[in-house]
């Protein structure tokens, strides 16, 4: 898995690419997300358009980021959720927990 990130309008945008299944790939996303939070970023968007699929480890990382950010009055939002990941969010009822948007632009504007 590869991760790129950039900042726009004070919002950190993470762009993971590949599969998030546990192991080194998952650690990379978890570490980068928490690195941004430790550096004071409170508004974070994860663009999932290039994530082929994820399992419960990936969902756990998203929850970890969300709860950590909310604990410091921040927020994590999702953008470009693929059908496969949307299906996982629905069956696990996490669709009720995350704010998801059709584009990164829309997610940034929502803050």
């Amino acid at each position: 898995m590869k991760i790129t990130d950039f900042e726009k309008d004070g919002v950190a945008v993470l762009e993971p690419k590949g599969k998030i299944m546990g192991g080194p790939d998952a650690t990379m996303l978890h570490d980068r997300l928490h690195e941004l939070i430790e550096h004071g970023k409170k508004k974070v968007v994860i663009d999932l358009s290039r994530v082929e699929w994820m399992n419960s480890t990936g969902l756990g990382i998203l929850i970890s980021g969300l709860t950590t950010l909310r604990n410091c009055q921040g927020e994590l939002k999702l953008a470009n959720v693929t059908d496969k990941i949307q299906s996982l969010l629905t069956i696990t009822k996490l669709v009720t927990v995350f704010d998801a948007f059709d584009s990164v632009e829309d997610a940034i504007k929502s803050f």
Binding site: G23, A26, M54, S56, G60, I61, I91, T92, V97
Partner: protein
Amino acid sequence: MKEPIVTADCIKIPSSQEFLPDVDGFIEAKLRAFGVEPSAIADIAISITEIVNNGIVHGNKLKPEKLVTVEIGRKDSFVEIIITDEGNGFDPDQVESPIEDKNLLKEVGRGIFIAKSLMDFVEITSSPGSATRVILRKQIQDFSV
């Protein structure tokens, strides 16, 4: 053993999550060879990584000398996968539902639930003190025809 052992229909890995991509690569290659359609490949691969991850972490407690074995085969209209660890088992009836409100924000505990949701058949044979064996089956349409 420090590396996966791969045979025609089986992969054995030491209990480390660094080998999950090896399992995924092996399984996806087999499923493509079986002619399974892409969406079902993802469902099966996700489910297998869930159960294998449980075997590595909860079953074998990340002890590298203990193995997780994944066997795969196609039987008529379905794919069957058998995953076995070398741990001390658990009581499947004690696993909490991850969709209860009190568990919704927990970072772990969704693996079996997701596998049961994505697969057509999941049978867990385990009890405290014995290794765990999980059988997964999914009906497939032959994408190659």
